[in-house]
């Protein structure tokens, strides 16, 4: 199945849910509106023509203060048909929040926790959104482009 067919499939179910596409990306990517992400993922996972049963990777991304956006990138893979797909979602940098896809793929549980931990992207309806890699009382979100580390952590100097 080609990207155009997948796009058609999604659009037939949820019109106006796709903002654009990126053929240059590898695998080819669809740019999706954030409010549709759960429905689209559910459709792509359960539809027997696509059947994306594996979420390979979920990554957050910060475009910096000037651009004012953050992104979440989903890398899907379909084992039976050997299909790849990338979904990209753009979020407002001031209040980055998006629906969790944890109910579709359990992989998303920890990956979303990681994106929350390092970028501060809030995943709605996530059942256990705690920090995962950093300590619970760490200040700030390190992978943001404008991150400045805190001076002291429990009386230990952070900058060395």
């Amino acid at each position: 199945m080609k990207l155009s067919q997948i796009k058609e499939l999604v659009l037939s179910e949820y019109p106006n849910s796709i903002v654009g596409e990126d053929e240059n990306a590898s695998p080819a990517a669809l740019l999706v509106k954030p409010q549709f992400i759960f429905q689209i993922c559910e459709l792509l996972q359960s539809n027997e023509k696509t059947y994306f049963d594996q979420l390979s990777c979920l990554s957050g991304l910060d475009n910096g203060e000037e651009a004012g956006t953050m992104e979440v990138i989903y890398n899907l893979y379909c084992i039976p048909y050997d299909l790849h797909l990338m979904l990209k979602v753009e979020l407002d940098r001031k209040h980055p929040s998006i629906d969790s896809v944890m109910d579709i793929w359990k992989t998303a549980d920890w990956h979303e926790r990681e994106a929350y931990d390092l970028f501060g992207i809030h995943f709605n309806k996530h059942k256990d959104l705690r920090r995962i890699l950093l300590p619970n009382d760490w200040e700030g979100f390190p992978l943001r482009k404008d991150y400045v580390e805190q001076e002291r952590y429990h009386d230990v100097k952070v900058k060395y």
Partner: protein
Amino acid sequence: MSTYLQESEPLKYRESDLKSEEMIINVGPQHPATHGVLRLEVVSDGEIVKDVVPHVGYLHRCFEKHAESLAYNQVIPYTDRMDYVAAMNNEWAFVMGVERMLEIHQELPKRVEYIRVLVAELNRLASHFVAIGTYGLDIGAITPFLWMMRDREHILRMLEWASGARMLYNYIWVGGLFYDLPVGFEEQSREFVEYLKPKLKEVETLLISNKVFIERTANVGILPLDLAINYGITGPMLRASGLKFDLRKIDKYSVYPELDFDVPIGKGEMGAIGDCWDRNWVRYQECLQSVKIIEQCVERLLGEYKRTKEFDPRVMVPKKIRPKAQDLYVRAENPKGELGFFFRADGRSDQPFRCKARGPSFSNLSVLAEISKGCMLSDLFAIVGSLDLLMGEVDR
């Protein structure tokens, strides 16, 4: 000090969540059975495990943040430190991603590709030796661990000979290799493989088909296939659950299509499909397949693609690594599963705008709570060991 711990790594369960007979047992982060710095919060009712909450991050070294401020070739040593018992495979996955962005991945000399496969498979053997050996150690067998470490040492010394470092190699470069193999390496590999074959047989009789070992691991921690796929489990764990899924076969990267090897899968010979014994057995079988691949590589490195005076392993190494603006996800079969890198290049700098590493152990660990619910406390460590975790990769 205890307040610090509660502030920085609080427990998920509170006392009020527990029933009167339940209690929380803390395991780790410093515990020999947790393979590094993994902390487990175990809710137990007597000997029965009710829930396990892994707390990770004790080995977090900010790989992704560092990668954003370093040139692509300078990131390679950092990837070594992710899965530090299989560093060759790590750097190969990273390098493959950068080469695809530069679109030079199909122009590499064949000898370079075969050397990469050879060192990666040697490292895969070393990684599986650690997995099998420490797994024996976890459940009380000390001899196999010592034997596996002895054989692993041969591999480490050979890779040290090639690259100069025992574990963290920085041998595979973007577009080529650090150096050609040292003179005599191919012959030495052949000799090593001949030495190894009977030793592997010994391990099978000593550990894999040992009655005590089977009793401890068969029918323990069964991971059904649908659950495994949903949790993003990859590598030997997924294959032990019965799916013939190996990225070396599926993605056909490098020269793997030219090599003849099988993909072993779990068959539930001693218990159910996807139990701890199956996982360990699949790793053992993969060692045999790696031996087969190494033999073929050596044969071709001494034959069709033999050492010549003109051969330059750095002939394709770019002077400047500046990929054009794009997003790319690359994946490769690591000893532990699918290692993926997500890159965003902005086309203007020599550094990745974003580099996300998807470690196989990270996803493999997340299934622990699901498969250990209701098991005995002593079986929990049999399950943790069978996941073949490496905290360096979970925490990055």
